[in-house]
């Protein structure tokens, strides 16, 4: 459903393009041999290149180049066999060189596509404009001293991929889905860990609005500093409403960089960036053009893993899952693998329901991860088997599952130990039914007089008498027979 904002003069549509900075997974930095690990002592992972010392020359890291190519291929994008590094000039305390080595006219990766999965099961293709390699800046800490900012250059020179979308996104929801899907693909590829809290994936949003149905692109504002999907969505909505208010009051929007303040839920102008759009890019004279061997690109292509979209297709075809369920399961590679080991040789829909329902619930409740799950795939598979062969009813299975989480034991052992086996013995169920009927002759009479609603009450009583172990199907059948007399 289209996302439309209502103004005083009519309906408005929002146009969004995203720039995602994804930190490349590598041991060393893009142009130096310093380490990239997060959380090290300040300035302990800084080479003289990263600190911008005079006379130091950058030498590019082969793995960072390969990671960018791998990501480009994962985004079904054109790989540019020749690309050029340029200097982007600006002054800031955490940029010791006085320029960032980036790519401008000839990026390593050109146009591609990313498919987002909408909640109704449909998909939408979002264009990728480009992906280029660049250096990260250092990190400034402003809360350590009343009058000073502290600068740590450990991040300075770490390789980033800037992934720029086309202005194809039309709602905060689509923007959120785009970031989530991009993160999922990067993690599948092993090219970025996608951790937004640690800043290894950061997002800037270009937002503009236009009257519904118009095709023009109006002036956009760039919103920086959005470090979660929720904040991104809040920032877009706030910014879109601000534009509408300005236009409806007869004003105009200036192209500018704005900062999202998550505490206040608003965006505001960044004065320091007023002149920042004049970066005076020029080719970096320290670096020759990057020329890729087509064989290297082919080798990387041949080694790509099965990506989320392909896996989703396969889950729908091979396991008969619907698009929404398949989309949930493939979002994370480890979850998808977990599901597959549970589903192997079993009823895939039942397996999917258990993985997405009780199992994901237990992950949340215990705070554990899919790599260290509270219940193993093998145990969950056994539980599905016990449901399928009638040993456990759905209700008992939930009880057994809770015990599995608690104890870490397998379902067969727990069923045995706790005597949780479903009662499928006709005689035992009949005895229980007769006992309840004998104790409540008035209610039996009411049912026989046509008060069918009481049947549910009888089911409850017999279940209670059997500690929930009666097979529900058999109980219903036998009860109906007995009550009719």
């Amino acid at each position: 459903m289209a996302y439309i904002l209502q103004g005083d003069t009519g309906d408005w549509e929002v146009v969004i393009g995203l720039e995602v900075h994804a930190q490349v997974i590598s041991n060393a930095k893009l142009f130096s041999g310093a380490a990239t690990a997060f959380g090290a002592e300040p300035n302990s992972q800084v080479s003289f290149v990263d600190a911008g010392f005079p006379g130091m020359l950058p030498v590019i890291n082969r793995i960072c180049v390969e990671q960018a190519v791998r990501t480009g291929l994962g985004l079904k994008a054109r790989i540019n066999l020749t690309s050029v590094f340029a200097r982007k000039n600006y002054f800031y305390a955490d940029l010791p060189q006085g320029y960032q080595i980036s790519q401008y006219e000839l990026p390593i990766v050109g146009e591609g596509t990313l498919t987002i999965d909408l909640p109704d099961g449909s998909t939408k293709a979002i264009g990728i404009e480009r992906l280029h390699l660049e250096q990260d800046a250092g990190k400034s800490l402003h809360d350590q001293h009343p009058t000073k900012s502290f600068i740590d250059l450990n991040r300075s020179g770490v390789a980033l991929m800037e992934i720029v979308s086309k202005p194809d996104l039309r709602s905060p929801e689509e923007a959120g889905l785009y970031v989530a899907k991009l993160r999922s693909i990067l993690r599948y590829l092993g090219t970025c860990d996608g951790n937004m809290q640690e800043g290894s994936m950061r997002c800037d949003a270009n937002v503009s609005v236009r009257p519904k149905g118009a095709s023009e692109l109006r002036t956009r504002c760039e919103i920086k500093n959005v470090n979660s999907i929720r904040f991104l969505q809040q920032a877009i909505e706030y910014e879109a409403r601000r534009h509408i208010e300005v236009y409806e009051a007869g004003g105009s929007i200036n192209q500018e960089t704005r900062l999202f303040d998550s505490a206040k839920g608003e965006t505001r102008s960044m004065r320091s960036k007023e002149h920042a759009h004049d970066y005076r890019y020029f080719p970096d004279p320290d670096l020759l053009p990057l020329v890729l061997d087509p064989k290297m690109v082919e080798t990387i292509k041949a080694g790509l893993p099965e990506l989320p979209d392909e896996k989703k297709e396969r889950f729908m075809g091979e396991y008969g899952l619907n698009a929404t369920d398949a989309g949930v399961l493939v979002a994370d590679q480890a979850s998808a693998a977990f599901f597959e080991s549970v589903a192997k040789g079993r009823d895939p829909k039942l397996a999917a329901n258990w993985v997405m329902g009780d199992f994901f619930g237990a992950l949340n409740a215990t705070g554990r991860t899919i790599d260290d799950p509270p219940v193993t795939a093998a145990h969950l598979g056994e539980l599905v088997d016990l449901i399928k062969d009638g040993t456990l009813s759905g209700r008992l299975a939930k009880e057994v599952f809770a015990l599995m989480v608690e104890t870490g034991k397998g379902p067969a052992a727990l069923v045995e130990e706790k005597g949780l086996k479903q009662v499928t013995d006709t005689g035992a169920i009949e005895t229980a039914i007769e006992a309840v009927m004998a104790a409540n002759p008035d209610k039996v009479a009411e049912i026989r007089a046509g008060k069918d609603k009481l049947i549910g009450w009888f089911v409850g009583q017999v279940m209670k008498a059997t500690q929930g172990k009666a097979n529900p199907g058999m109980l219903n059948e036998l009860l109906a027979k007995k009550l009719k007399g």
Partner: protein
């Protein structure tokens, strides 16, 4: 090509060079002369010629992804005008 005063002011600001107002006219003249001198290159027909990036036929050398530097915060900070607790310190720059 001739530069006006406003452009020179803006270039100075981008380069963080403080130029007094009365020096702008003179600088505009100097910079314009330099640009005019360089513009002579435009007389050469470069249609269809790839930009030359190196005098020898070299390609960009690639480095292995090994950690070979770092671990010397003291050296990195040695020339810093100000440092504290392993950080460079500068006058507060915050939005």
């Amino acid at each position: 090509m001739s530069l006006d005063k406003a452009t020179v002011r803006s270039i100075a600001e981008l380069a963080r060079i403080e130029v007094p107002e009365e020096a702008l006219d003179h600088l505009a003249g100097e910079l314009s002369n330099i640009l005019t001198f360089v513009e002579q290159l435009a007389a050469v027909d470069t249609e269809g010629v790839q930009p030359m990036t190196s005098v020898t036929a070299m390609t960009l050398p690639l480095r292995a992804d090994d950690v070979t530097a770092g671990g010397h915060a003291d050296k990195v900070l040695a020339n810093a005008p100000e440092a504290m607790e392993g950080f460079f310190t500068v006058p507060k720059v915050v939005e």
